[in-house]
């Protein structure tokens, strides 16, 4: 069919965490511009399977931009060239016929490669487990709207809560810092009344876990904010800093 594209892919292939890995070049032929990036990889993988080769391993799940499972560093950018979308929402019409596309996994010491393009993001889970929750004692179900929350605060908390833990912030950061992710998780609870009881222990515990996982240090370049598929803003990091310094210097917790 006319309008279809032929592309050259330079894909990072790595057998396992211990393998050194390297780039392998593939041809992606007769690719419809309406395919998503992951569907394009599916087509390439079908070809590899037919030839009896090991398909390219990559993470994906919902394929509708909400689960945070897909990743991929495409031509030097997290989730590819478009703003505010995940790789599954990136379509091949964003590329030119004949283009060479370099595909790499997220690069961070705290995100070790499992295989090919899939990385282990369980360090994010451990940061969440360190304090990213609200302890709720059992009891009667409270009536709706018993806790008043101003609209602007609710909106801001919701914006922070849209983080899908994909790790693009870490991948895009020149320092492999996780501060956008951690600050979003801290903010969504710190902004709401339900999160107040544990607010200052939470920020200390989560920052300590973030440091222990070996993420880098934020230098306020703002790359994370630009590459975040959910447009989590840098103001979350400022809020985390405020809460952290407050907890360390002004509170006895």
């Amino acid at each position: 069919m006319s309008g279809n594209m032929n592309l050259t892919l330079k894909v990072w292939r790595q057998k396992n965490a211990g393998d050194k890995g390297g780039f392998v070049t593939y041809k992606a032929e007769q690719i419809s511009p309406d395919m998503s990036f992951l569907e394009m990889l599916d087509v390439v993988n079908e070809g590899l399977v037919k030839k009896g080769e090991d398909p390219i391993y990559f993470d994906h799940d919902c394929r509708e931009g909400i689960c945070g499972m897909c990743s991929l560093y495409i031509n030097g950018r997290a989730h590819g060239p478009k703003r505010a979308i995940t790789t599954c929402q990136l379509h091949m019409r964003s590329f030119k016929d004949g283009e060479t596309i370099t595909i790499e996994p997220w690069r961070a010491a705290a995100f070790p490669v499992i295989k090919d393009l899939a990385v282990d993001r369980s360090s994010f889970d451990r940061i969440q487990q360190a304090g990213g929750y609200v302890s709720v004692n059992t009891g009667g179900v409270p009536d709706a709207n018993t806790i008043p929350i101003p609209k602007v605060i609710a909106d801001e908390a919701f914006n922070s809560a849209t983080c899908i833990q994909c790790g693009a912030c870490v991948a895009a950061c020149k320092n492999a810092s996780a501060m956008l992710f951690v600050s979003a998780k801290i903010s969504q609870l710190a902004l709401l009344p339900q999160g107040q009881a544990e607010r200052y222990q939470r920020v200390q515990a989560m920052v300590a876990q973030m440091d222990a996982e070996g993420f880098g240090n934020c230098t306020n370049t703002g790359a994370c904010e630009v590459e975040c598929p959910k447009e989590i803003s840098l103001t979350n990091i400022a809020r985390m800093n405020r809460d952290y310094f407050t907890s360390k210097f002004l509170k006895e917790e």
Binding site: T102, E104, A109, K174, A176, S177, G222, A223, L234, N241
Partner: protein
């Protein structure tokens, strides 16, 4: 207690706090440094500048602040190095393709290089002026201002060989003069700024400082968590126009003015 603070300052956010506080303190210093050194533009043979230099190096309160400043420079550089090494460890395998320019300004990604240029500059700058002033055995100059007619100033360069000259300010009642005998740092500055390579170094360093501070000043506030939307525009404005434009140009004009017009 001590342990608590040691732990806090060794955390990622604690180290950033130190970078922010030392950096912003140096920004504040630059405002004072530029304002004071505007006296270099005065056409008085360095009288005002030399008197000011004496005050800045001998008044105890200024001395205390200057020691804090030296500490800030050293701590800022050391912590920058520690943080950079940490960050390198956080990504052991780099990207083959990295389109950093698509998501962040150039200066923000090159603070280390810009900072290194500035550190080299500070070493050269301080060894030429600060160290010279303290231990360089500078010549003294006498400024005699007529009390009746302060427009009339007689400037005498005292010979270097004369021993035991002291900084002094007194009224010579017999001749009706106000006398200032001061170490002539102005002369050292003047001679340095007559060398083209020195002027070049200064202009390059000020360019580096401009880029460093455009990112650094507002970054300092972001680290402190001070990003209220009411005053954030002011911080961004100061970052670009005061620290990125006005201050570096002001400093760069000093060697350029002396080189071309004095």
């Amino acid at each position: 207690m001590g342990n608590h603070f040691a732990k806090t300052f060794s955390s990622s956010l604690g180290k950033k706090l130190i970078m922010s506080l030392t950096g912003l303190f140096m920004c504040l210093f630059l405002v004072v440094h530029l304002t004071g050194n505007l006296q270099l533009f005065k056409d008085d043979g360095g009288q005002a500048f030399n008197a000011y230099t004496y005050f800045m190096t001998h008044f105890w309160a200024v001395k205390i602040i200057s020691y804090i400043l030296y500490a800030s420079i050293i701590v800022h550089a050391i912590y920058a190095l520690v943080l950079t090494l940490n960050n390198k460890k956080a990504r052991t395998v780099g990207y083959a393709v990295y389109a950093g320019e698509k998501s962040s300004p150039w200066a923000s990604r090159n603070m280390g290089i810009l900072g290194t240029v500035l550190l080299i500059f500070i070493v050269v700058h301080m060894s030429n002026f600060w160290a010279q002033y303290h231990w360089g055995g500078l010549p003294y100059t006498r400024y005699e201002t007529e009390l009746q007619n302060p427009e009339n100033v007689t400037i005498t360069e005292l010979p270097v060989s004369t021993t035991e000259i002291m900084h002094s300010e007194y009224i010579d009642v017999q001749n009706g003069n106000q006398v200032l005998i001061a170490k002539d740092l102005y002369k050292v500055v003047y001679l340095s700024f007559k060398q083209w390579w020195y002027v070049t170094l200064y202009v390059i360093a000020m360019l580096a400082m401009s880029f460093h501070l455009v990112h650094g000043f507002k970054s300092g506030f972001q680290t402190l968590g001070l990003d209220h939307k009411r005053y954030l525009p002011i911080i961004k404005l100061l970052s670009v126009w005061l620290f990125g434009v006005l201050i570096p140009i002001g400093f760069a004009l000093m060697p350029l003015y002396i080189f071309f017009f004095k």
